[in-house]
């Protein structure tokens, strides 16, 4: 029940934020901050009630009751659809990440939003609720529902509070995800139908559908439906074209949410649904998926280097970093999977910070064009230091979270597909080039006296410091995160027994 309460709490919180605007324009942001923090506190409370051993128990993927928390309420028995939520270590990790980045998003939009702040904060909270629903839903119908519904507040965030080209960006974002989502719906309905023929009754539950022997030629196409939906969201080359537009045009909080957590729903979907549901088809497809991942790493890095718009640069760097996640997932050995999970967390934090930086710059200078910047360090040394920190985090400096993630992916990948590992490593060089180039164009260089801007204040420094600490912690002592996800990875790896292509080191 506690999972339902968590989601309902965020939705109701959105309504409170919406109406609190009538009392005071300043109130909505405080309300939504309080709601998010309370939600985090709530998770902490109910996790504390669980015995500590339960976090290291390997959950049975076909039996929800062995998970940390499991809730099943009948919903549409006509088609065997239930309101089924469950949480294991992986979901817990991602839910906590979601809420933490939610706080960052709210903080980053603290002074930016003047128009209808109540509705803005409500949309932020509703998209958090949708994303958390995606991470928790264990009924495929319910999963699809959250998958689609989380788009609407995000669409509104971009369409209402976005920048100059918001109509185009919001529409493109929605159509890409909707089209791929319909392909996934088609796949979901098909596998439920297949399972209904085999089992004799309809069910959309993940626990029932897992391990059903689907007709192999059909399974490949169904897998593709899931794969496209998830890689559009990830996004992977060649489905990434919505991302630079959406990120660039979104308000800062929208970019933070998009990059920080919405992209992770794609990675999560691949790991939780696409590969375990169709192990053989995924195994066949793995080389292509990895090739797309490697291409994304290089392509994203090259395009990032070609940008003059700060936000677009960060957006393309996301394409590059998410390529590592795709590589790690389809390498499907323990190290690579650990790396992929780590990358989801670390990239969420570092990119959120960079988007917040972009938002802060735009708020102060009214431009995102890096050609018009330069020498900003002189006026705003605190901003410069923060930007430097997150730029080197993003390029994978050892000691920070992103390095651990990319290193693990590359080591795991090398055991399976050495050549892809070599190509992906080139991406790291690209990352160094564009990250440092970005810093040179903006903060370094001759001080320009026309560009006078206020430095970070206490609120912004506090947020940045929190993210720095998180990245350093992830870089120096990643074990708690890995320990939390490990039982889940172990349980999922059962579905794909070691094979020449997908086996390897453990």
């Amino acid at each position: 029940m506690s999972l339902l309460i968590l989601i309902a709490f965020l939705i109701v919180g959105g309504l409170i934020a919406l109406f609190s605007e009538r009392i005071n324009e300043q109130l909505p942001r405080w309300v939504s901050l309080a709601i998010t923090i309370l939600a985090l506190g709530y998770i902490w409370l109910f996790c504390r009630q669980l015995p500590i051993e339960s976090f290291s128990v390997i959950p049975n993927p076909t039996d929800g009751s062995s998970w940390l928390i499991h809730l099943r309420l009948e919903w549409i028995p006509r088609f065997g659809i239930a309101f089924e939520l469950a949480m294991d270590g992986l979901s817990l990790l991602l839910v906590v990440l979601t809420l933490l980045l939610g706080i960052i998003a709210i903080s980053s939009s603290w002074v930016e939003i003047k128009f209808k702040p109540g509705l803005f904060q409500a949309n932020v909270l509703w998209s958090l609720a949708g994303v958390i629903g995606v991470f928790l839903a264990m009924d495929l119908f319910l999963f699809f529902l959250f998958w689609e519904v989380m788009l609407i507040p995000m669409y509104l965030l971009i369409a209402i509070w976005g920048h100059e080209d918001k109509a185009y960006a919001a529409m493109k974002f929605f159509i890409f995800t909707q089209f791929s989502g319909l392909l996934m719906l088609l796949s979901i309905v098909t596998i439920a139908w297949q399972a209904a023929i085999i089992n004799g009754s309809y069910s959309f539950s993940y626990f029932d559908l897992l391990g059903v022997p689907f007709d192999s030629s059909l399974a490949f196409w169904m897998m593709l439906g899931f794969f496209i939906a998830f890689t559009v969201k990830l996004p992977s080359f060649p489905f990434h074209t919505w991302l630079p537009d959406a990120h660039t045009q979104a308000p800062t909080a929208g970019s933070v949410l998009l990059a920080g957590i919405l992209l992770k729903t794609g990675a999560y979907g691949l790991l939780r649904f696409c590969i375990p549901l169709f192990p053989e088809a995924s195994m066949e497809f793995a080389p292509i998926a990895m090739a797309l991942g490697a291409a994304g790493v290089i392509y994203g890095a090259v395009l990032a280097f070609a940008q003059t718009d700060f936000k677009r640069l960060v957006a393309y760097s996301s394409v590059s970093h998410m390529g590592f996640v795709l590589l790690g997932l389809y390498a499907w050995n323990n190290l690579a999977l650990q790396g992929a999970v780590m990358q989801m967390v670390a990239h969420g934090v570092s990119t959120a910070a960079l988007f917040m930086m972009a938002g802060a710059l735009q708020h102060r200078l009214h431009t995102r064009d890096m050609n018009q910047m330069g020498g900003l360090w002189h006026n705003a040394p605190r901003m410069g230091a923060c930007a430097m920190f997150f730029a080197v985090a993003s390029l994978g400096l050892p000691g920070l979270g992103n390095f651990v993630a990319e290193f693990l992916v590359l080591v795991g990948l090398f055991a399976v597909q050495p050549w892809f590992a070599v190509i992906a490593t080139l991406g790291l060089i690209g990352a160094a080039v564009y990250s440092l180039w970005m810093i040179q164009k903006t903060f370094q260089g001759e001080p320009n006296n026309e560009l006078v801007m206020a430095d970070f204040g206490v609120r912004e420094m506090g947020t940045m410091a929190a993210m720095m600490i998180a990245l350093i912690w992830l870089g120096l002592y990643p074990q708690p995160v890995l320990d939390l996800a490990q039982p889940v990875l172990d349980s999922l790896r059962v579905f794909l027994v070691a094979s020449p292509q997908l086996g390897g080191v453990s």
């Binding site: 006509r78 699809f144 529902l145 089209f179 319909l182 392909l183 309905v189 139908w193």
Partner: protein, 481 residues
């Protein structure tokens, strides 16, 4: 006829008696509120009368009418839809035209025609219902406004609809010549004796399909749709788009099932082709529209294309019950959604008598000065687009489930592509509604009574309810199909 026969036809009897009473009432004393109240009462009474009628079904009342659960369900649906249209029309009519009372009489007659179609199991009753419904609609389209656009729409609809009816009638005549019967079931039996390649059958089916295709506005018989939708007064467009389409579809489905026309694969194949091009053409042309009513017209073409999937899937007798269930759900959801969308257009256009406020620019910033109306529009657009938590999504989910039973990949692919295209033009309206700042504030002034607002809130609630708790209706539909 026995008492039980009369009882099973109760909705039709109530509507006929109601129409007579209304006529007398108008003759004695004019008054729009009085007539509207009486009309609503009659329609709701007719809707309620399906409950006593349900106790004496199924039965064949004369060879013409088949009283069963589906007929009663649709009677109730049509009556409720007409009642909603009545309430929405009050303010709209109050602002324009003199002596608008007969409008309500025509509405009841049109509803009666639709209800007869729901019962029809014979070509005579089919034609009777169809003509009763359409003839009343010609007048309704032209009635409230004396300007050019509605008149043009009415004449266009009259001429083309008349031609379509003639074509259907000719098709019936040929079928009668070949088989000697006009009853659906008997026709099915007689057709078995005739070789399937018979030229007369081919011509007959071609004429009937094109006539029905016109009535359902399927591509390539769709050209009238945008003009008529645009010209007709907004409440009538809603009625035309929902009730008349649903009535024709349900009689088509009944005809196909009872006469077992599924044995003609050429028929099923041509329906598949019509479905695919309707989905694609409807959605593509809707992209180009700047007028919301025309956009909804093209979107209804696409929706009718989606609906034809039901007919194709029904050809497999194992899944016919599931397909019928899905079809009924789709029609219920589509009726509620369409009524809501046009209801909102009615409400924002009620004041202006020169033209209706149905351009995209007219809803500019609606979210900020009419948040309630805009949210209602948002919900109905999302339902048309098939976004989860709305009735439209469950309906689309049904279609997916139905089409997957026979792996109709072409239909499924068109459904996916069509729906994705659809997102663009539905969301464009949402985008216009959320615009702010750069342009002048829209000068919409509303004259709505609280009743119209209550009705539209109820419509939205029903769309959300059907989308969130679909189980009761699903369970009921499963039990009657």
């Amino acid at each position: 006829m026995m008492n039980a026969d009369y009882q099973s036809l109760l909705p039709l009897i109530v509507l006929s008696a109601g129409a007579t009473i209304l006529m007398l009432q108008i003759a004695f004393r004019r008054g729009i509120v009085l007539t509207a109240t009486l009309t609503t009462f009659v329609l709701l009474l007719a809707a309620c009368s399906v409950v006593p009628a349900a106790s004496s079904i199924p039965r064949l009342v004369t060879p013409l009418l088949q009283a069963d659960h589906i007929a009663l369900l649709f009677c109730a649906l049509f009556c409720v839809a007409a009642a909603v249209t009545t309430v929405l029309s009050i303010d709209y009519l109050g602002q324009r035209g003199d002596q608008p009372e007969e409008y309500f009489l025509l509405l009841v007659l049109s509803t009666l025609g639709a209800c007869v179609l729901a019962y029809a199991t014979h070509f005579a009753s089919l034609l009777l219902g169809m003509e009763l419904m359409s003839v009343a609609l010609y007048a309704l389209i032209a009635y409230p406004d004396k300007s050019v656009l509605p008149l043009e729409a009415a004449v266009k609809y009259l001429v083309l609809s008349g031609a379509a009816s003639a074509s259907i009638l000719f098709g019936f005549a040929l079928l009668y010549a070949a088989t000697g019967t006009l009853e659906f079931v008997e026709l099915g039996r007689q057709l078995g004796a005739i070789p399937s390649g018979d030229l007369m059958l081919l011509v007959a089916s071609f004429m009937i399909i094109s006539g029905i295709g016109f009535k359902l506005s399927l591509v390539p018989f769709h050209a009238w749709t945008p003009d008529v939708y645009d010209g007709a007064p907004a409440p009538i467009t809603g009625f035309l788009a929902s009730v008349s389409k649903a009535a024709i579809f349900i009689v088509l489905l009944r005809w196909f099932i009872e006469a077992d026309l599924f044995r003609y694969s050429i028929l099923i194949e041509s329906i598949t082709i019509i479905a695919v091009i309707s989905m694609l053409v409807g959605n593509l042309l809707a992209l180009l529209q700047k007028n919301i009513k025309r956009m909804l017209a093209y979107s209804s073409i696409a929706h009718m294309g989606y609906l034809l999937i039901i007919l194709v899937v029904s050809s497999d007798s194992n899944y016919r019950a599931l397909a019928t269930e899905a079809g009924i759900y789709y029609l219920v959801a589509y009726t509620a959604t369409t009524l809501a969308a046009f209801g909102l257009l009615t409400m924002i256009s009620a004041r202006h008598t020169v033209r209706e406020n149905v351009q995209l620019d007219d809803v500019h910033g609606l979210f900020w000065h009419q948040p309630l109306l805009a949210s209602l529009m948002l919900v109905s657009l999302l339902s048309l687009a098939g976004i989860p938590l709305t009735a439209g999504f469950i309906a689309k989910f049904y279609l997916f489930n139905v089409a997957i039973t026979g792996y109709y990949w072409i239909l499924l692919a068109s459904l996916v592509i069509g729906s994705s295209i659809g997102i663009y033009y539905y969301l464009r309206v949402v985008f216009y509604m959320t615009r702010w700042g750069d342009e002048q504030q829209s000068t919409l002034s509303l004259v709505n009574r609280p009743l119209a607002r209550i009705i539209s809130c109820a419509l939205i609630a029903s769309i959300l309810l059907l989308g969130i708790i679909p189980q009761p209706l699903m369970e009921y539909l499963k039990s009657i199909t």
